[in-house]
Structure formats: C-alpha cells, structure tokens
C-alpha cells in the first residue's frame, strides 16, 4: 500500500510475498474480456465447498460415529444443539449446490473445449475433484445411519464386492472384515473428512494449473492483444460477486423453504438391517449413474458402464483432436453436445423413477448415446466437420 520501507506490508513482503502474489493472481490477473456467466460456476463450487468444510467441522463436534449413537446424535443436532438444524441444512444443501455447480462447470468445459491443450491437467484435476467429491458425498450420506444411509451403503459395498479380483480385498479394507457395523462406520467417518480436506489440496492444484494457462473463454481463442484481457479486479470480482449473490439466494431458498428436498424422508428412520425401504432412490446427483447401473442386465456390466461413464471423461482431451476449441465454431458438435447434456439429465430422471420398462429403455438409449458421443462422435467429428472461421481477437468475438 505505501512505499515506506519500514511498513508492515514490506516487512511481510520481504519474508513471504503473499500480498504481491495475491495482487498478481487475483487483482491484476489478466482475464479474457469475453467470459460469460458460465465462468462463475467454478467460484460457486469453491464457495459451496468452503461452506461444506466449515459446516462439516461444526457438525463433527456434535456427531458420534457409532452404530448405537450416530442416528440419535444427528437428531440431537437437528433438535437440541443451538442452531444445529441450520448448520446441518447448510451442510446438506451445500452438497446439492456443489454438485449442481460442478455439473454446470463440467458441461461448460465440454462446450467451450476447455480441456484442450494446454489445459489437459486442469481438466484431469477437475475430474479428480469430481471423483473425490463423489466419494465424500457417498461417505457422508452413510453417517446419519438412517435407512437410506444403511441400504445405500449396503448396495454400493456389494457392488464393490462384485468387482473381480480387487473388489473383495478393497471392501475388506474399507469395512475392516465384518459387514456394516461400528468399525465400518468409524472408517467411513474418517474417509468422509479425510477426502474433504484432500479436496482442498486438489483445489489448490486445480487453481495453480488454471493460473498457469489462464482461463479459456467462450471464443476458445487465446487472448493475443492487451485489450483482449481485463484485470480480474474489479471486472470479474464484481461479476463473480453478482453471480454468487444469486447462487447464495438459491442456496438460502433451498435451506429455509425447501428443507424436505435436502434428503429423503426415509433417512429419518434409523437404520434397520432387517427391513429395506420400499423405494430406494439415490440422491439426485448420483441418479444418472444409478440409472446406468440399473439399466444394464448384468451385475459386473452395469458397474463397469456406470464407472466408465465418468472414466471416458478422463480421455476427452485425447479423444477430441479438433484444433478448434469452442463448440460455437463447430456446427456439428454444437448439435451433438446438447443431446449429450439432455441424455445426462434424462438418466438423472430415470434414476429417480421406478424401473418401469419405459424408463429402463430410455436409460439404455441415453447411456448408448453417452458412450457413442465420447467414443465415436468426438474422434470422428473433426474429420467431417467444417468449422466456422475463428475471430481474430476476443474484442471481436463478443460474449
């Protein structure tokens, strides 16, 4: 701030240059001038993750990871701990908000080709984060030890057991020999927060990678001239800020007006190993993968295809060889991608419905398109597609 050599900021600067690093990376950082609101979702996910960590720490203070006390400790948090109901709602709502932000963030990356060179590591660390968030969400869902927790865990652990060779040893490592009991619950609790804090570290990697390459943009063309970029502050701090206000408003509506959406009623019934609830419905963010699992009439096949549906995403930077990044200049991809997003949403709906033949066939069609898109369309499109001319500068490209 000041140029006096003895100022506190200079003292700090000489020893640990965090102020100048912050200024360089978050104030003066050159951002493409044409980012649209889809570029807000990374910030949304970060904020949701931060709220999850904070609320999670405060929940952990009151939670007991034992079969005998887990369910009642959650009830105590909801009913007796001061503001406990709000902290738990922030935590449960945060999961949905995080997944929603991540899925939009991921779809934006696909649409604007953000995975292409030199941003492959950005893409891979992002997918790694998605898997870690899924692990944390699955482990966290078991902790309240309600009926859905118990039977969700049972199904997933049996699925893990079905994996040839490594499945049983892996399940044994997780459960500590016996089935879903005290030992398993304690490990799942540890897994939950170890994964959560590891996510913070990987977010650091993700952001470091982002700040090496800089953000992609809707035109998919690297900024060349000085007026192709604007400083991060105040342009994107205010744009992110406005978006965050809306994001938090939706989040607040979910917490305060739609608490019934946060989790299923069956999870307010304590886990009972003798009765499976009539309707096992996954949380919405797992529904697409659950739909695939259910649509394949083979235990191992369903598992492979459900996991593979995320697995193919890792190969996307190498499946798509087109030199043009943004779907805006790729007419065929621009048609094929919305269908992909639609099939993901369709799988989500299918996963939350009873498995009637119609929904099963819809799931199968959507799943086939998912794989065809990544394994066939993405590699072939560059060969047959006539791309539109790319803009000379971001100034021309517009939003």
């Amino acid at each position: 701030m000041t140029d006096r050599p003895d100022s506190a900021s200079n003292w700090l600067e000489a020893r640990l240059p965090i102020i100048s690093a912050f200024r360089r990376e978050y104030v003066d950082f050159a951002m493409p001038r044409n980012l649209n609101y889809l570029w807000n979702f990374g910030a949304f996910a970060t904020v949701a993750m931060a709220l999850l960590i904070v609320s999670g720490v405060f929940l952990a203070i009151n939670y007991t990871p034992t079969v005998a006390a887990a369910f009642s400790s959650i009830e105590t948090i909801d009913r007796q701990v001061a503001s406990g109901w709000l902290i738990r709602a922030i935590h449960m709502g945060g999961v949905s908000m995080l997944f929603a932000a991540l899925y939009v963030h991921l779809a934006r990356g696909l649409y604007y080709g953000s995975y292409k060179a030199p941003r492959e590591l950005l893409w891979l660390t992002g997918l790694g984060l998605l898997l870690m968030v899924m692990t944390a969400a699955f482990a966290g869902y078991i902790l309240p030890w309600g009926q859905m927790s118990y039977w969700g865990a049972t199904v997933v652990i049996n699925a893990l057991n079905a994996v040839p060779l490594i499945g049983r040893p892996l399940a044994s490592l997780l459960l500590g020999g016996d089935g879903l009991g005290d030992v398993a619950l304690h490990r799942i609790y540890v897994l939950h927060f170890v994964t959560a804090f590891s996510i913070l570290g990987v977010i650091g990697l993700h952001l470091a990678a982002l700040h090496v390459t800089g953000s992609n943009n809707p035109a998919g063309v690297e900024p060349r001239k000085a007026d192709d970029t604007v400083p991060f502050h105040p342009y994107y701090t205010s744009k992110d800020g406005l978006g965050l206000c809306l994001f938090l408003a939706v989040y607040a509506v979910l917490i305060f007006f739609l608490p019934g959406w946060l989790t299923l009623a069956d999870n307010y019934v304590q886990a009972n190993p003798l009765i499976t609830p009539r309707d096992i419905t996954p949380e919405w963010y797992f529904a697409p993968f659950y739909a695939i699992l259910r649509a394949v009439p083979s235990k191992l096949g369903g598992l492979v295809l459900a996991v593979g549906s995320i697995g193919v995403l890792f190969a996307v930077p190498w499946l798509d060889r087109s030199p043009v990044r943004s779907a805006r200049y790729r007419p065929l991809l621009r048609l094929a991608l919305p269908v992909l997003f639609l099939s993901f949403i369709l799988l989500g709906f299918a996963g939350m419905r009873r498995p009637t033949p119609e929904w099963l066939w819809l799931s199968r069609a959507a799943m086939v398109y998912w794989y065809v898109f990544f394994l066939v369309l993405l590699p072939i499109l560059p060969k047959i597609e006539k791309t539109k001319p790319l803009p000379e500068s971001l100034w021309e490209a517009g939003r």
Binding site: D28, F58, T76, Q80, A82, S83, L86, I87, P231, P234
Partner: protein, 218 residues
C-alpha cells in the same frame, strides 16, 4: 464517512481524478459493508452451535430419590445428581453442636449463609431442611475438586471436609473456613423430605422457584 479523497486502491487502470468521493466509492463501501454483515450473519449459527444443547432436557426427570434408612449418624453417602457428587449426611448431636460452637463464626467466611449458595429453606445455621440431615453438592468452590469427608472420630467430634487439591476446608454444613482458598460455602441442592427416611434431590418444597444454575458458584 470521511471527506478525504483518494483513488481507491487496487484499481490499476483507473483514470478517476475526481477529488470528491465518487458514487463508485460509495457503492464499493456499501457492498463491502453488506458483505461483512452477511459474513457475520453466517458466522452466528456456527458460533451459536458451540453453546451445545444448552443443558436442555426433553421433559426427563431431573430428580433423584435417596433412601437414608440405613444411614447412621456420623456417616455420609454420595449420590449422583446432574452428574455431580451430592453428599447426604446424618449428623450427630456433636456435629450439630460444633456448627454453633462459640467462636466458630469468626473462622468462617460466610457463617450466616448470606451469599446464595443454597435454597431459602436451607438458609439457616445448619444449611439444611432438618438439622440432622445435611445435603451438599460435593464440588469445592475453589477450583472444582471433590472434598473428602473426614467423619467425626474420637479426636474430632465435629468432622469436616478437606479438599485434596488446594487444602480448602469446610465444616460439616459446608461452610468455608477463612484460612483456606475456597471463597464460598459448598452449594446446597434443592431438597424435599418425602418421609423420615426418604428425600428427593432436585426439587425444593420450601423454595419452589430455586434453580441451582442461579447460585453464586457451582
């Protein structure tokens, strides 16, 4: 705010050379203020939750019945009430006499029990409902250890309480001696005598409004 003007820091390509606070400054400061207010509002439930369950009981019975039919004079039993050790003693006539012995009041910090460490029906020279039966919360008012009961014996007919941690001394009515660190008398819980041989800890018939949470120090 202030009339002092300067271009707000952080705006690298600002061409703003106005000398009065600009509308943008007002907006920026208002936004920052609102953001801080929001952060405080968000912090409230988290800090509030550290208050825990606020000792809230869900209509559960908070009283303990004690049968003292087998308690002999000069003895005490220890029962648990609210997780605290509670001493129930049957006093001998020597013990009672020691409470009123001449000169003893000069050695005590609060011989008349003026400081609220007991319900109104135990605010008397024997600090209990009936002189023969004494009930005390066995938590030293110095730093919270449990004092030991020295039962009356041939050498000392009075008996007393001695805290093992820092040497605090109390007489058998729980009154603190001046020469030791404990500042207040031992707390007396609310007690109701159900019969000659039975008492209930947790409610006081003689002082129904009494709440142990409101005493000077537990």
């Amino acid at each position: 705010m202030t009339n002092e003007s300067r271009p707000s820091s952080g705006q690298t390509n600002s061409t703003d050379i106005e000398t009065q606070p600009t509308r943008r400054d007002v907006l920026a400061k208002t936004t920052l203020g609102m953001g801080c207010a929001g952060a405080c509002a968000l912090a409230y439930p988290f800090l509030d939750s550290l208050n825990g369950t606020r000792g809230e009981d869900l209509g559960g019975d908070d009283t303990v019945d004690v049968d003292i039919s087998t308690l002999h004079p000069g003895q005490q039993i220890v029962v648990t009430w609210r997780g605290w050790p509670v001493f129930v003693q049957r006093r001998t006539s020597d013990m009672l006499a020691s409470l009123q012995a001449p000169g003893v009041t000069q050695r005590l910090r609060d011989p008349e029990s003026k400081i609220m460490q007991q319900p109104r029906d135990a605010t008397n020279w024997h600090r209990s409902i009936t002189p023969e039966i004494g009930v005390l919360v066995g938590i030293c008012t110095h730093l919270g250890c449990v004092p030991n009961f020295n039962a009356p014996n041939a050498a000392d007919h009075a008996g007393n309480y001695a805290c093992p941690c820092h040497g605090s001394q109390f007489d058998v009515a729980g009154r603190a001696y001046k020469e030791a660190p404990a500042p207040y008398n031992l707390p007396v819980p609310p007690v109701t005598m159900l019969s000659e041989t039975k008492l209930k800890i947790g409610v006081s018939k003689g002082d129904p409004g009494f709440d142990i949470a409101n005493i000077q120090q537990i």
